[in-house]
Amino acid sequence: MTERPESHDLWLMQRYDGEVPWREGEADAAPSPSGEAMSASDRAKHETMALVGDLVRAHVARDTRGAGLADAVLGRLEAERAQAPAAPPGLDGAGLAPAGLAPAGLAPAGLAPAGLAPVGLAPVGLDAAGLDAVGLVGEGARRKEGEPGSPAPAAAVGNDNGRFLYGMAALAGLAAAAAVALFVWAPSASDDAGARASAPSSAPSSMGAPGARARDGAAMPAAAAPGASEAKMPALTAARDDDADDDDAVPAVEVASVDFGRHQGSVFYVAGRQAGATAVVWVNDEEER
């Protein structure tokens, strides 16, 4: 039996709502806190509340804007609950084992942390054994399996890991394809002096293009040549001499790459003693002057 409230109006409301044992015709069954029976005033209040209630219900019934809203919200919640694994994957031994993460020795260094962490270790709140990287499928995780509230749908876990691994495999495939493309492209590009300018990755941008030849009149960088005028300083990328285009396909000397370190420098190709040109790697020695 509901305890009788101290407030008379609250008591009235509870009576109206049926929360106190009162029914029509039993007006005195549950007297008011003050011990009075339903007065005329109380009855008027009841009728007013009933009238207001009817009006509100009628108004709401006419307005169909919210129809189905609650169902939609609940339906979406149900759908999300159905899609999400009951517990974060990665903690379930049955789920992890097929994915191959269980034997820690099989996982290459670096893959396990990257692969396992996003699978949802953090929010789980498992015990230490369950969170241990090696013990992901160890006692801690296995103990959770089968316990009420521990979950871990195996299929969902397997799918997540599989997606990740397939992604890794796809990336590796792309890398291999890029390597093959570079391998095929590199020899053909060796004939193109312009293209070779970007080949040596270790050389600074000021490096001249291997395969190109210094234009007549080009002088070394002024910093490297005492007395050389600024006007005579050549472009840092050696220009190709059009007259030499018909030289041997393979030059006598070819600079494949230059690491100038902390210095700046250029690569020049100079006509040599014979038909081929020779290469000059010129480093600007600006320190210890």
Binding site: P98, A172, V253, F268, T278, V283
Partner: protein
């Protein structure tokens, strides 16, 4: 599990393939490691053979603008009259040296620094060599220049300050018995 292991195995295999394929990028001639990987392992290492037969011949020149002209003992080196060498009007021969390639060696320069040569690969009469210069202080002046040169053809490393001018190193790979 099997599917996973296959996927897992693919990653390092693909990575190794990528490395192996990109290794000979420096030129048409595969690098030392590349030569071994591509089939040099069965017989003798061609780099070792080449190193036994070839030697780096080095001429050390001192370039200045003191009006003395090109040292006649240098012989026929028309390159020195062309840019960028023509920025200096005088070239004196300071030293001739040989660097043993087995497959790497070095020689001391007049300023106390060192020139190092390392033979990377050899094919027919062409060599790929990595040249580097270290200053007396131990600092790397030229960490590395990878050059593919025909046997007997000079290439030059220049710019290192020395006294009132610079050092110019002419390097070529020749037969040892020469």
């Amino acid at each position: 599990m099997k599917r996973f292991l296959m996927s897992r195995a693919l990653v390092p295999m693909a990575g190794a393939a990528a490395i192996a394929l990109t290794t000979p990028l420096a030129g048409a001639v595969p690098s030392h490691a590349g030569a071994l990987a591509w089939g040099g392992g069965a017989g003798a290492d061609p780099v070792d053979d080449a190193a036994k037969q070839a030697v780096g011949e080095v001429v050390v020149l001192y370039a200045t603008n003191d009006g003395k002209g090109i040292d006649p003992s240098l012989g026929d080196m028309p390159q020195l009259q062309s840019p960028p060498f023509s920025a200096y009007d005088s070239y004196a021969l300071l030293e001739r040296g040989k660097v043993d390639l087995s497959p790497s060696g070095s020689m001391t320069l007049p300023d106390g620094g060192a020139l190092s040569l390392r033979l990377e690969s050899a094919a027919d009469d062409r060599f790929t060599v990595v040249a580097s210069i270290t200053k007396k202080s131990g600092k790397k002046f030229l960490p590395g220049a990878t050059v593919n040169a025909k046997r007997g053809e000079y290439f030059f490393l220049a710019g290192q300050r020395y006294k009132e001018g610079i050092l110019v190193l002419g390097i070529r790979l020749v037969d040892k018995k020469r």
